[in-house]
């Protein structure tokens, strides 16, 4: 039962992440939705898998995958957002502040 709830919540958050990808205006904001919702969604699914299989072989692997996912997702987000800025991707016109422009000419 707990497994079912966790997996449903995970799928729901993944859906929100995908909606964010479609609705948000520029690359930087889309990445926010993609990293946060999708990471927690996947963690929730993995936790659900752990509850489903118990703390056996599959359960432990699911548990170990969570910190790995956290580190890789954040590092990938960092690399993508920095790469996009240096490539010259424009920020949305609703943006109110850009301190990074003093560094990147």
């Amino acid at each position: 039962m707990a497994a079912l709830i966790l997996i449903s919540v995970g799928v729901l958050f993944n859906l929100f992440g995908c909606l964010g990808l479609l609705r948000l205006p520029d690359m930087y904001n889309r990445l926010q939705a993609a990293t946060k919702c999708v990471t927690l969604g996947c963690c929730s699914i993995l936790l659900g898998v752990m509850f489903h299989y118990g703390l056996g072989s599959a359960g432990f692997r699911a548990l170990v995958a969570i910190p790995v996912l956290f580190f890789t997702a954040t590092v990938a987000a960092h690399a993508l957002v920095r790469g996009a800025y240096h490539f010259g991707t424009k920020m949305d016109k609703r943006s109110v502040k850009d301190d990074y422009s003093e560094i990147v000419k």
Binding site: F13, L19, L24, N29, Q32, L40, G56, F60, Y85, R94
Partner: protein
């Protein structure tokens, strides 16, 4: 000494992820861990003694609990902005100063900031971090620095510095 630490950590990781305790698996794991520690050992853990201080483990647990709470909050925050018909966003990149010194601590702080409500670390130059924020709540650098780094900075300082 730090090569040994990296070796032990990668060995534990290997055993957890393969989850079999046959001799051949342990030998293969030891070989992989030895290779990993030979290549990457010099980048991590400049002072291994820190692992043995219980105070640091305590602050690590405090940090972990705060981190998980903030992370869940972050998700509801982003989900709210995505689902709201008018999309209440006010994005921008802000500059925040950090007092953390070591690379490891700064990496942890940058990763924590990326997982917390509406913020992604774009770059670290010197002791200044550039952070993309989906909804800038304040114009005052002192106020928003506090909001972005939150309590993470002091906790990380207590266990990783």
């Amino acid at each position: 000494m730090r090569y040994v630490t990296v070796f032990i950590l990668s060995m534990i990781f290997w055993l957890l992820i393969t989850f079999s305790f046959t001799v051949s698996n342990i030998v293969a794991g030891a070989a992989a861990a030895a290779l990993t520690s030979a290549i990457f050992g010099r980048y991590y853990f400049h002072n291994v003694g820190k692992f043995l201080q219980p105070k640091r483990w305590f602050w690590f647990l405090v940090y972990l609990v705060t981190f998980i709470r903030e992370c869940i909050k972050a998700n509801f925050d982003v989900a709210y902005r995505v689902l709201h018909p008018a999309m209440p966003i006010r994005p921008g990149i802000v500059k925040v100063k950090t007092t953390l010194r070591s690379d490891f601590a700064r990496t942890l702080l940058a990763n924590s900031i990326t997982m917390t409500p509406g913020t992604i670390t774009v770059d670290i130059i010197g002791d200044e971090m550039y952070i993309h924020w989906i909804f800038i709540r304040s114009e005052d650098p002192a106020v928003y620095s506090r909001m972005v780094t939150g309590r993470f900075e002091e906790y990380i300082k207590k266990f990783a510095e």
